[in-house]
């Protein structure tokens, strides 16, 4: 009876959320042998395919290994695997802290992590500190792709590019930290191009993914599946818009989504969201500015449905400082905003806005 209870508790700590990141140990997990003991290590059979398939499915990967950093990276490079791992943590620190660092760098939920390690001690240490991380032994790589939390993930074209986008982000971050001058001057030399267009069938999977994955810059937290999005895309009284962002480092891909209902005297924003990767680029205000101009051209006011959550303060700030006023608020924190469109800014100089 007691055993059953404690099992149930264990199950509760690990979520059934889709996996976004796999953290691998190296010795006796990715390869057989212990590098620091001078072994001639050999990759586990079939592991390269598993790493590549995970990568194609948009699941990012990293390393938490107790090893000499440079030796381990050299070895990974000789296997041509080094480029697959973002922010690898190869040091002698506890692995729970390595995983925490990876999580902060990637800015994704700790409950979307899986950790693989052959040593029970390391798995227990991670599980004790980060109980939401699913910890698996070294044999799990053989069945990793069949696990529900991985097999059930739908993969958009954007997701396949995820690792590349993170690598580009690492370059941006490095340059931004080294840059002297105002943040706006930094933005100005990025050569940002922001494209707003009507969604097409090809966008729907990515649009669904955005509603599921985006928390911080999300106006309602409501998720929509492809079927619902397809309905709105074809509805004559709705507009479904997608946004793309490019800069000199590359493409951020499709990073924003808006669903607007066109009523007789008002445009109503049902959903407005921006991928967290663009949070520091201020593009949410630009999409909102576009919607304001569009509504004004129709001689409509602009309303917006909003639900305040613990994580979307930036979205509230974006609305309220764009002169949206609360006209009603329900007990469950559902707010209806309205903007009379008396003040509309022009787009900032540091970004080129293309609309279709």
């Amino acid at each position: 009876m007691n055993i059953k209870l404690s099992n149930q508790e264990d199950i509760k700590t690990v979520s059934n959320k889709g996996v976004k990141c796999i953290v691998w140990d190296l010795d006796n997990t990715i390869w057989d042998g212990v590098l620091a003991e001078g072994d001639d290590v050999i990759l586990k059979s079939g592991i390269v395919d598993v790493i590549k398939v995970l990568d194609e499915r948009g699941i990012v990967q990293s390393i938490a290994s107790k090893n000499n950093h440079d030796d381990a990276i050299d070895k990974l490079r000789s296997f041509e695997l080094d480029e697959y791992f973002l922010y690898p943590q190869i040091n002698w620190n506890p692995k729970s802290s390595s995983i925490k660092i990876i999580q902060e760098k990637l800015n994704i939920g700790i409950d979307t992590f899986i950790f693989l390690d052959d040593q029970p001690f390391e798995r227990d240490e991670v599980a004790a500190i980060n109980p939401e991380v699913e910890c698996l032994d070294e044999t799990a790589y053989l069945t990793l792709l069949e696990r529900d939390r991985i097999a059930n993930i739908k993969t958009s074209d954007d997701a396949k590019m995820r690792r590349i986008r993170y690598l580009e982000d690492m370059n941006r971050q490095g340059d931004e930290e080294a840059f002297e001058g105002t943040p706006e001057t930094f933005l100005a030399q990025l050569g940002m191009v922001f494209k707003i267009s009507e969604a097409t069938k090809a966008h729907l999977l990515r649009a669904e993914e955005l509603t599921v994955r985006t928390n911080q810059l999300n106006s309602t937290g409501v998720t929509y599946d492809m079927e619902q999005l397809n309905f709105y895309m074809n509805s004559p009284t709705h507009r479904l818009l997608v946004c793309e962002l490019n800069d000199k480092y590359g493409s951020y891909g499709t990073i924003g989504l808006a669903l607007i209902e066109i009523q007789e005297d008002a445009d109503v924003i049902e959903l407005l969201l921006m991928s967290c990767r663009t949070a520091a680029r201020g593009v949410g205000s630009i999409l909102l500015n576009y919607l304001m101009i569009e509504a004004k051209n129709r001689n409509n006011v602009l309303r917006a449905n909003f639900r305040r959550t613990a994580r979307n303060r930036q979205m509230l700030v974006t609305y309220q400082l764009a002169n949206f006023k609360q006209i009603s608020k329900s007990k469950d924190n559902h707010i209806l905003f309205e903007n009379d469109l008396s003040i509309i800014s022009t787009y900032p100089d540091y970004i080129q806005v293309i609309t279709e």
Binding site: P183, E184, G282, G284, V317, Q320, L321, Y347
Partner: protein, 91 residues
């Protein structure tokens, strides 16, 4: 009411000047300059400004105070900050 010193004011100026390009050279920035009609205010600048006010003056700006009139000039920001400091001191 006036817990905001000239030093605080100067800090706020410097923050805004070093974070907004439009005030770099030719526009004279005075206490009552309306930031929100002088140029595009990105959500990211707004968040930075909010974080600056909250950490510098140890206040939390509630949702209902995040409105343009409270942020449109240095004068108005100082008024809001001193009001929030008062309410928090009494709470």
């Amino acid at each position: 009411m006036s817990e905001i010193t000239q030093e605080d004011r100067d800090k706020l100026y410097r923050f805004i000047e070093s974070n907004m390009t439009i005030y770099d050279d030719d526009i004279e920035f005075i206490d009552s300059t309306n930031i929100f009609t002088s140029g595009f205010v990105s959500s990211i600048f707004a968040m930075r400004l909010l974080n600056f006010l909250e950490s510098e003056f140890s206040i939390t700006v509630p949702d209902e105070d995040i409105v343009i009139p409270n942020f449109s000039s240095v004068n108005n920001m100082c008024e809001m900050v001193s009001r929030l400091k008062m309410t928090e001191a009494h709470a």
